[in-house]
Amino acid sequence: MTVMGTRCRDCGETRFPPPTVCECGSQDLRLEPVGPGWVAARTRRAGARWPLLVVVETAAGHRIVASALDDIAAGAAVSVECRSGMICAVPAQTAVVEEESTCRS
């Protein structure tokens, strides 16, 4: 499932996690997919279930924290997918549409 952020119809700003009210005061917020993007930063945590934690920056201006199941390099192009309730950064060329998801978006 595609992870969704918001775009404000009044000021055009994009946000993730989705806010209730835009900083311009508008509540006219449209849900939009937050990917694709590129890996702006990554870390490998000792003892973590998933190898990488990354920040994905999208062309629209979203910055999303995601897990990466593969060893993705900084700067790599990725899609942002919700898999089993977890936001994942997936190499762009192998991104797939995921099954039912519990990601809140």
Partner: protein, 371 residues
């Protein structure tokens, strides 16, 4: 009406509290020490500000009851590491407007399950970060640090210089939980928590509490430390930035404008240090340097986080929001013993915290002046 700090207190930090220890007990211990240090009688305390993440389900009013206080003014602070500056700013307002005459400000924590606390810190963390096994704030600040390294050309040795600098100060602080010498080689060889952070980049969680007592300047004795000014900022960028610009930047600029005192004029610097990258971000924003690698290489005898900071003295939860303040007051009163900074007259204290999603969203700064 000016405001002054007339008493400081602490519940000693420990990594391994005994089973009978409670958050309320730690706050009470720090409070009693601070009120005694202020040479005030307990019933004279008519204002109470509290910050604690583990006092729940109790709040400030419950604590007032437990402490036997009947205040005219109370406040619960919920802005994490920025709570200290916020509570002092609010207490000063309460005193200046006549709502209280002697305010006890206290903060501290006792965590029994820190991982669970971190995973449920707020709704955004619960919904978007906890499923990732994100590693708490260590994982998030590893990402911030990575971005800072790239933006400023920093390497691990630079962060190590800052961490070992603070450890040297901690060596002269009997209250610090980690005082033994730490070399750059020790730092570089330490166990990784989340690349590039090692155990020495992450504040050790301790049980403990800090407290201060504030009164009107006209009620203060010769040993008081005057609060010259305060400034706070919240949610300045809606979590849309990189995390390398902190709320302390704007708060520090306001403080400089209102007091006319730049950070470079302060003999004592207590910069909030949950992670080394946060210290360096503030150093840049406060005008202490415009070249972070050079700053790290030339720390020398700079009186920066002279208690050892949270990285060496320990992070007693929100008590860390007052650690820099109690240390600065101790320095300005000339009571810091082996770590006393000579001719300490002005101190800058900052606070930073409340990671809403990727980095802290609250910050503040205050300026203190010796009597």
């Amino acid at each position: 009406v000016s405001t002054a700090v007339v008493g400081v207190g602490r519940a000693p930090y420990t990594r391994h509290p005994c089973g009978s220890t409670t958050a309320t007990g730690l706050l009470a211990t720090a409070a009693r020490v601070a009120v005694a240090d202020a040479a005030l009688r307990w019933p004279e305390i008519d204002g109470l500000a509290v910050a604690s993440m583990t006092l729940a389900p109790d709040h400030a009013l419950d604590l007032a009851w437990r402490l036997g206080l009947s205040p005219r003014w109370i406040s619960d602070a919920q802005v994490g590491g920025a709570s200290g500056v916020q509570m002092v700013a609010d207490a000063a307002s309460a005193i200046e407007t006549g709502r209280a005459r002697a305010v006890l400000v206290v903060a501290g924590d006792l965590f029994t399950d820190f991982a669970a606390h971190a995973a449920g810190f707020n709704a955004a963390t619960r919904d978007y970060l906890a499923p990732l096994d994100f590693g708490g704030t260590n994982g998030l600040f590893a990402l911030v640090t990575t971005l800072q390294m790239a933006e400023h050309g920093l390497d691990r040795r630079d962060y190590g210089r800052l961490v070992t600098h603070q450890r040297r100060w901690a060596g002269a602080n009997p209250d610090a939980v980690y005082r033994s010498p730490l070399s750059l080689e020790d730092y570089l060889g330490a166990r990784t928590v989340a690349e590039p952070l090692t155990i020495y980049d992450c504040p050790p969680v301790v049980a403990g509490a800090e407290a201060v007592v504030l009164v009107a300047g006209t009620d203060a004795g010769p040993d008081a430390v005057r609060v010259r000014g305060t400034a706070t900022r919240y949610n300045p960028d809606h979590q849309t930035g990189t995390g390398l610009r902190t709320p302390v930047g704007a708060a520090g600029a306001e403080l400089r404008e209102t007091t006319g005192v730049p950070a470079t004029d302060c003999e004592v610097l207590s910069l909030y240090d949950d992670y080394p990258a946060v210290v360096l971000a503030q150093a840049l924003e406060l005008g202490l340097t415009d070249d972070l690698p050079a700053f790290c290489r030339t720390l020398g005898g700079l009186a920066l986080n002279t208690s050892g900071g949270q990285l060496s003295a320990g992070q007693a939860g929100v008590g860390g929001a007052l650690l820099g303040l109690t240390e600065a007051v101790t320095q300005l009163r000339g009571r810091a013993g082996a770590r006393q900074v000579e001719r300490a007259r002005l101190a800058l204290v900052t606070g930073y915290g409340m990671v809403l999603y990727r980095y802290g969203a609250a910050g503040g700064a205050l300026l203190l002046e010796a009597a």
